[in-house]
């Protein structure tokens, strides 16, 4: 009898979830597999089933634009994630000092995250514009010798992207870590005060390690955003100057339609999926295997 009762209890849930399951397995997984299969064909404008083995991957890995795209993604990803974590953590600690108008500050810091990358990109593209942005504003104030025309040179354009996206993403990290800080046992603060440990050391050695799950979540969210960054680049630099800020997602998009090479584009997309899976692996490990072991 208990089995039947249990079945009856979960039946509505099963029915409610089945459309989701169809979507997840039929559409998401189906499209992933299709993309992967097409990457082994010679597809150009129209997808076909003329299998050519790893030929698309071989071409991809010898294409300069792809290679520099991956390098840019790595530089961008590391700087973006680290930058967001550091600034987000500092903002969270600042707000955790029981400041007045906490809600207002929190809203202001989180506000950029509500903007799309397209808007963020457009705004920062103007700010960095060498002939009308921050550069001219600072020169007007008499500050000379500070070159903020980051987007005008292929060597620095990626850092322009990094600054814009840290501005956009730091608030999210702040919110996640602030929730963590609020969960820290107040007894810890009392104990360290008694022992005469400075607040800075307490944060660094005791509180921050407590925040590990929040930090990990942030790294995964930001890391995936870094792998698939596309709209920010389109709005800010269009991949330029030259190939100075090309990224893998933009490579895939332009190969798909503008350059009508679906095979090569899907090969790039498949490699991006692998990168995302690598980022997700630690989270999956923590949430399934470690919990099971406990």
């Amino acid at each position: 009898m208990p089995l039947l009762i249990r079945l009856r209890r979960i039946l509505p849930a099963l029915i409610a979830l089945s459309p989701t399951a169809v979507f997840v397995f039929g559409i998401f997984l189906g499209c992933l597999i299709w993309t992967c299969v097409i990457s082994f064909t010679s597809s150009k404008l129209l997808p076909n089933t003329d299998f050519v083995g790893f030929a698309q991957y071989a071409r991809l890995l010898t294409t300069e634009r792809w290679i520099v795209s991956v390098q840019h993604m790595a530089v961008y990803g590391v700087a973006y994630v680290v930058g967001c974590l550091v600034i987000g953590l500092l903002l969270a600690i600042f707000i955790d000092q029981k400041v007045r108008f906490e809600n207002t500050f929190r809203a202001i810091f989180l506000f950029p995250y509500a903007l799309s990358f397209i808007v963020t990109g457009a705004v920062w593209q103007w700010l960095f514009n060498p002939s009308m942005g921050l550069n001219t504003a600072l020169a007007g104030l008499g500050v000379a010798g500070l070159d903020l025309g980051l987007l005008a040179s292929p060597d620095t354009a990626v850092y322009g992207l990094v600054i814009a996206s840290i501005w956009q993403g730091a608030g999210l990290v702040m919110v996640i870590l602030l929730a963590g800080l609020r969960g820290v046992d107040p007894e810890i603060w009392k104990a360290t005060r008694v022992d005469g440990v400075s607040p800075a050391k307490t944060y660094l050695w005791i509180v921050v390690p407590e925040l590990a799950p929040g930090i990990l979540t942030s790294v995964v969210i930001l890391g995936i955003a870094a792998v698939k960054v596309y709209d920010l680049v389109v709005a800010m630099t269009q991949g330029g100057p030259g190939l100075g800020s090309e990224v893998p997602a933009k490579f895939v998009m332009s190969l798909l339609f503008e350059r009508a090479n679906v095979g090569l584009a899907t090969a790039g997309a498949t490699l991006m999926l692998l990168a995302v899976l690598c980022l997700l692996a630690p989270l999956l490990y923590l949430s399934y295997f470690r919990r099971g072991a406990r």
Binding site: K44, L46, L151, G240, G242, F257, R259, N261
Partner: protein, 412 residues
């Protein structure tokens, strides 16, 4: 009024010949024309089609890529539009070979399209001896649009006709405190600039050897190397804000007399027109230095195969209306391009359009742009190398040639 009668007569013949007597002539047409002048041009098609008895369903999708993507997915998904826009050249050939498009040979023969079309266009839209698309315009890409005020204030009396004159004028403009060349640098527009400089410095024969035959020896020809050097020299005449700038923002620099000139296709006229300026009067146009030529691109409409006699009749009528002399003239006045057929009286068009029409009528003076000569994939691979060269002043013409060759070999 006479035209209207001819239209109805032809329509009647078409309808009788396909034995459709009361067809529903609703045409859904996909195109990427959304900006002011472009939308006005598309409306000419719509009005003419409705005047001929059809119903026009406009499906404008902003952005060439987005429109191409939408066309492909709707054709492959089995719900094709009655007609959809492509650029003249290679890209649509794959749809043709996949058997997804119908031909317009019957109408083309009946209306003698081959007698009035440039040979390069006929070649580009013919497969297995049949015309597979409706060409609607011919765009001149190699214009030098210039600000008369900036030229005057910089002491440039004459529009440069040779490259040495060109650089002398650019130096004067810079000395007078203006940006000589308005340019929005990205891979597309850097490639655009490259092909104009190549044909102008090296001449059409070498241009075709490099881009059509992709002959490695041609890349080492002294005239081609000179073209690469000229392109490299041009880097010094743009401002620091150039990377990533939109082409129409660059045009605006000429409109507002901040820059001397811009190298851009005839669609730039739309921006000038929006500012209330008349070509040849308020601003100048000149074909590229060297022997005058017209580097062309163009728009075509393709007709997907649809198993529905009504749609087939609508496609027939559409092909007829879009290609008609009257439509051609009105459409191209709005679009800023030139009629695709050489029997249209262009005397009512602006001075620049008339000049282009005169130049392209001379034999051998109409040069296809690289879209006619290579796949989009190869165009893109080439553009990557060009934009790198443009933005890397330390890169030599020899390195540039080597990497171009590699790009040609890697792409399909």
């Amino acid at each position: 009024m006479g035209g209207r009668h001819v239209v109805s007569a032809v329509l009647a013949t078409l309808m009788l010949s396909s034995s459709v007597l009361a067809a529903d002539l609703t045409a859904e047409v996909m195109h990427p024309w959304t900006s002011g002048g472009e939308a006005a041009a598309a409306k000419v098609f719509a009005d003419q089609y409705e005047a001929a008895g059809g119903t026009w369903v406009d499906n404008a999708i902003a952005g060439n890529d987005a429109q191409l993507a939408a066309s492909i997915s709707s054709i492959m998904g089995g719900t094709p539009p009655t007609a959809t826009h492509f650029n003249t050249g290679k890209p649509f050939e794959e749809l043709v070979s996949a058997g997804m498009l119908r031909d317009v040979e019957a109408i083309a023969t009946e209306e003698h399209w081959r007698d009035v079309l440039p040979q390069a266009i006929i070649d580009a839209i013919t497969a297995d001896g049949k015309i597979m698309a409706v060409p609607v315009n011919l765009q001149t890409e190699n214009w030098l649009w210039y600000s008369k005020e900036v030229f005057e204030k910089s002491g440039v009396a004459e529009v440069p006709k040779t490259w040495p004159e060109f650089f002398a004028a650019a130096d004067k403009i810079r000395a007078a405190g203006y940006v000589p060349m308005a340019h929005g640098s990205n891979s597309f527009w850097d490639r655009f600039l490259f092909q104009k400089v190549l044909v102008s410095v090296a001449g059409p024969e070498l241009y075709l050897k490099v881009l059509a035959d992709r002959d490695p020896a041609a890349l080492k020809d002294p005239k081609v190397v000179e073209a690469f050097e000229t392109l490299g020299k041009l880097r010094g005449y743009v401002d620091a804000g150039s990377p990533g700038r939109l082409w129409n923002d660059a045009t605006n620099m000429v409109i507002t007399n901040k820059a001397g000139f811009q190298i851009m296709g005839d669609w730039a006229k739309g921006e000038f027109a929006a500012a209330g300026m008349t070509p040849g009067v308020d601003y100048g146009c000149s074909l590229f230095p060297g022997e005058e030529m017209v580097v062309m691109s163009g728009d075509i409409f393709v007709l997907p195969k649809i198993d529905d006699p009504d749609q087939t009749a609508a496609q027939d009528l559409l092909a007829h209306v879009l290609f008609a002399k009257d439509t051609q003239l009105q459409f191209n006045i709005k679009k800023g391009s030139n009629p695709i057929r050489n029997d249209v009286d262009v005397s009512s068009m602006d001075a620049c359009a008339q000049h282009a029409a005169a130049v392209q009528a001379e034999p051998g003076h109409l040069v296809p742009n690289p879209q006619f000569l290579m796949s989009n994939d190869m165009l893109g691979a080439m553009a990557d190398v060009i934009t790198k060269f443009w933005n890397t002043p330390s890169m030599t013409p020899a390195e540039f040639a080597t990497q171009l060759q590699a790009a040609f070999e890697s792409a399909v």
